[in-house]
C-alpha cells in the first residue's frame, strides 16, 4: 500500500524510539557507577556486578517467587471462575439470565480504585494482610474475562450441546470435556492476559504487603529504587531488567495469540 522504501525507515525509527528506554536500562545495568555518572549511553566495559548487588540488597528471588505464585494463582482462579460463569450464560437457560449478565457487565464500570478503601478494610478484617489470599482472591472474578469467554463459547454450536445430551453427558462433563478443550486458545489468551496484568500489578500489593514474606517484585523495584537511588543506578536497572524479562518473554511468545484473542473479544 505504501512504498516500502518509505515504510522500512519509518519502522526502524519508530522501533528505536520505542525500545530505546528498555535498551538504555539494559546498558545502564551493565555499567559501573563511574560510567553512569558520566552520562554514557553505551557501556565501555561490561560488568555483572550490578546484578549480584541487586540480589544482595533486596530479596529479589523471594519477590520473584511471590510474584510467580500470585500471578499463577490469579490466572488459574480467574480462568476457573470466569469460564464457569461464561458457560452458564451461554449454555444453561435460567430465569433472569439477561439481568444477571447485565449486573456482571456493570461491574466493569466500577473502577477498582473507587472501591479500594473498603476492600483494604475487608482484607484487614479477614487477616489477609501480608498473605497470598489477600493478593489473589479479590481478582478471581473478572467481568472482562467472563465477557471474553462468553463471546468465544457462543461460537460453539448449540448442536454440540444437544448431541452430548443425547449421548447422556452431564452438564459439567460437557463443560470440561467439550467446551474447555474446544476453547483452548481463548483460555490461553485470557490466561496470558491475566498473568501479565497480575505480574505488573502495583497499587494493591503496595497496600496489602508490609513485609517481605509475600511482597511482589513490582514493589521490590520501588524498594530497590528508594534504597539505592542516590548512588547505585546500575543496581536499580539490573533489578528492573530481571523483573521485566518474564513478562516480555510471555508477551513475545504469545503476541499473535493475544492480539487475536483480545480483538475478537473486544469488538464482536
Amino acid at each position: 500500500m505504501i512504498n516500502k522504501w518509505v515504510v522500512y525507515p519509518l519502522l526502524m525509527i519508530c522501533s528505536i524510539c520505542l525500545i530505546f528506554p528498555i535498551c538504555y536500562a539494559f546498558f545502564i545495568s551493565l555499567m559501573d557507577g563511574g560510567e553512569i555518572l558520566q552520562g554514557q549511553i553505551l557501556p565501555k566495559s561490561v560488568t555483572y556486578q550490578n546484578y549480584i548487588d541487586a540480589f544482595k540488597s533486596v530479596p529479589l528471588l523471594q519477590y520473584l517467587w511471590n510474584s510467580f505464585i500470585v500471578s499463577t494463582s490469579v490466572t488459574i482462579g480467574m480462568l476457573v471462575v470466569s469460564s464457569l460463569a461464561a458457560f452458564t450464560f451461554v449454555f444453561i437457560p435460567f430465569h433472569g439470565r439477561n439481568v444477571v449478565f447485565f449486573i456482571f457487565i456493570s461491574t466493569m464500570m466500577i473502577p477498582w480504585e473507587a472501591t479500594m478503601i473498603p476492600n483494604f478494610l475487608t482484607i484487614q478484617k479477614l487477616g489477609w494482610i501480608n498473605s497470598y489470599e489477600g493478593l489473589t482472591i479479590p481478582f478471581f472474578a473478572l467481568a472482562f474475562g467472563t465477557f471474553l469467554l462468553r463471546q468465544h463459547f457462543k461460537i460453539i454450536p448449540l448442536e454440540l450441546y444437544e448431541a452430548s445430551q443425547v449421548a447422556g453427558l452431564s452438564q459439567f462433563k460437557f463443560f470440561y470435556k467439550i467446551v474447555l478443550p474446544v476453547s483452548k486458545t481463548s483460555l490461553v489468551t485470557l490466561g496470558a492476559y491475566g498473568f501479565l496484568t497480575t505480574w505488573n500489578m502495583y497499587l494493591w500489593p503496595l497496600l496489602v504487603t508490609s513485609n517481605d514474606s509475600v511482597r511482589t517484585v513490582q514493589i521490590g523495584i520501588k524498594q530497590l529504587q528508594t534504597q539505592e537511588i542516590a548512588t547505585e543506578w546500575g543496581v536499580v536497572m539490573a533489578g528492573v531488567i530481571i523483573v521485566i524479562i518474564p513478562a516480555l518473554l510471555l508477551l513475545f511468545l504469545g503476541q499473535k495469540q493475544l492480539q487475536k484473542g483480545l480483538t475478537q473479544g473486544s469488538i464482536k
Partner: protein, 373 residues
C-alpha cells in the same frame, strides 16, 4: 425395534400461539417415517420434542409403549443426526464415534469393536485418526451417521442430514441411509424440507404446514390423493399447476377462463357444492391436443430439455404453469401450442379451505406397475 406414538401433542413458546397443534401419529417399529414441510412449519421442533431437546407443552409421547415426556434425551433410546453433524472438533473421528459409548461407560474392548464395525460399514476406516476439519463434507456426514449407528439405539432421528451435501452425494446417501435403516431394522424419523427425499426414502410421510398435519400416508397415496391444495403443490416436481376457477352448477361445467369450459360428469356434480374452486393438474397430465378438444392455445415462455423429458412453461391468466412431456421435443420460446385438459386428471379443491373435493383418477393415467415374474 420400538414404536413411537404422539398423542395430541402441541408446542407453544408463549402460551398463546401454538407452533405445533394437535399432532397425533403412531410410528411403527422399523418404519422409515419422514416429516416434510416448508421451513418454519414446525417439523424440526417436533423431532426435537421426540428427542427430548425441547419440552412438550401439551399432549403425550410414548416410546416403546412407555410415557416419555419427562425422560432425558439419553434415556429415550434414541440417536440423533444433526443438520450440521455436531462433530466435536477437538476429537478424532474414532473418538467422535465412541463418544456416546464412553459416556454410557461401555467397556473399552466393546467400544473399539463396535467402532471398527461401524467404521467399516461406512468406509471410514482410513480416516479414524483424523480430526473433523480434515474431512470433506460427505465424510463428516458419514461420521455423524456412524456415531448414531454405533449407539445401537433402536430409534434414529435425523434432522435434515443431507442438506449440506451437493446434489450427487445427496442422492447417493439417500439410498445408503435407507439401506442401513433396513439392515439394522431401525425405527427412523427423518426430517426434511425436500419432497424428493421424502418421496424416495419414506415408508410413510407426514406433511406439515404451519404447525398442523396436512396429511399422513405412503408416498403414492400422498402423490395421487393429496388431501388438500397445499400437499398437492408441495409434493411433486415441477409442482402441480393450480388455478382458481368457477363451477357452474346449472351447466355442470368448470370455467377456467372466459370461454373454456370443462364438462363435469353427473356423478361428481353433487360432490362439488361451492362455486369458487381451485383446479389443479399435474404437469405430466397436460397433453398436446391432437384429436381431443382444444382447451387452450398457449404461448411457450420457457423450455427445459432434460434428455428423457421436456418441461415446457407457459402462462395461463397470470400464473405460470408447466407441463412435462416424455421424450425430446423441438419447441422454441414463443411457439403457440394447443393443449387439452382431461376432466379425469383434474384435481378440484375448495377455494376457501383448500380441501380436496376430487382427486385426479390415478389409475386411469398412472398405472401402478407391478413386476410379476
Amino acid at each position: 425395534m420400538k414404536k413411537v406414538e404422539l398423542v395430541q401433542i402441541s408446542k407453544s413458546y408463549n402460551h398463546h400461539t401454538n407452533v405445533l397443534e394437535n399432532i397425533n401419529v403412531s410410528i411403527e417399529p422399523g418404519e422409515f417415517f419422514v416429516l416434510v414441510g416448508p421451513s418454519g412449519c414446525g417439523k424440526s421442533t417436533l423431532l426435537r420434542m421426540i428427542a427430548g431437546l425441547e419440552d412438550i407443552s401439551q399432549g403425550k409421547l410414548f416410546i416403546g409403549g412407555h410415557h416419555a415426556n419427562l425422560l432425558r434425551p439419553s434415556q429415550r433410546g434414541i440417536s440423533f443426526v444433526f443438520q450440521n453433524y455436531a462433530l466435536y472438533p477437538h476429537l478424532t473421528v474414532a473418538e467422535n464415534i465412541v463418544f456416546g459409548l464412553q459416556a454410557q461407560k461401555v467397556p473399552k474392548n466393546e467400544r473399539n469393536k463396535r467402532c471398527i464395525e461401524v467404521a467399516d460399514m461406512l468406509g471410514l476406516i482410513p480416516f479414524l485418526k483424523r480430526k473433523p476439519r480434515e474431512l470433506s463434507g460427505g465424510q463428516r456426514q458419514r461420521v455423524a451417521l456412524a456415531r448414531s449407528i454405533v449407539s445401537q439405539a433402536p430409534i434414529c432421528l435425523m434432522d435434515e442430514p443431507l442438506s449440506n451435501l451437493d446434489a450427487k452425494l445427496r442422492s447417493h446417501m439417500r439410498s445408503e441411509i435407507k439401506q442401513i435403516q433396513r439392515r439394522l431394522g431401525l425405527t427412523m424419523i427423518y426430517v426434511t424440507h425436500d419432497q424428493v427425499e421424502a418421496m424416495t426414502m419414506g415408508d410413510r410421510i407426514m406433511v406439515l404446514n404451519e404447525g398442523k398435519i396436512q396429511q399422513i400416508g405412503d408416498p403414492l397415496q400422498i402423490y395421487n390423493h393429496p388431501a388438500n391444495a397445499f400437499v398437492a403443490q408441495f409434493i411433486g416436481s415441477p409442482p402441480m399447476n393450480l388455478i382458481p376457477a368457477t363451477f357452474n352448477k346449472q351447466k355442470q361445467t368448470i370455467q377456467i377462463e372466459y370461454h373454456h369450459e370443462i364438462l363435469v360428469p353427473l356423478h361428481d356434480v353433487r360432490n362439488i357444492s361451492n362455486e369458487d374452486i381451485i383446479v389443479g393438474i399435474r404437469p405430466e397430465d397436460i397433453h398436446l391436443a391432437r384429436n381431443e378438444p382444444i382447451h387452450f392455445q398457449i404461448e411457450v415462455v420457457n423450455v427445459e430439455v432434460l434428455g428423457t423429458e421436456t418441461i415446457i412453461s407457459f402462462k395461463i391468466k397470470d400464473q405460470q404453469w408447466s407441463m412435462k412431456w416424455n421424450g425430446q421435443w423441438r419447441i422454441a420460446i414463443g411457439d403457440r401450442i394447443p393443449i387439452s385438459l382431461d376432466y379425469q386428471v383434474l384435481s378440484i379443491f375448495d377455494s376457501k379451505t383448500g380441501t380436496a373435493l376430487k382427486n385426479a383418477k390415478a389409475d386411469t393415467h398412472y398405472k401402478i406397475n407391478e413386476v410379476n415374474l
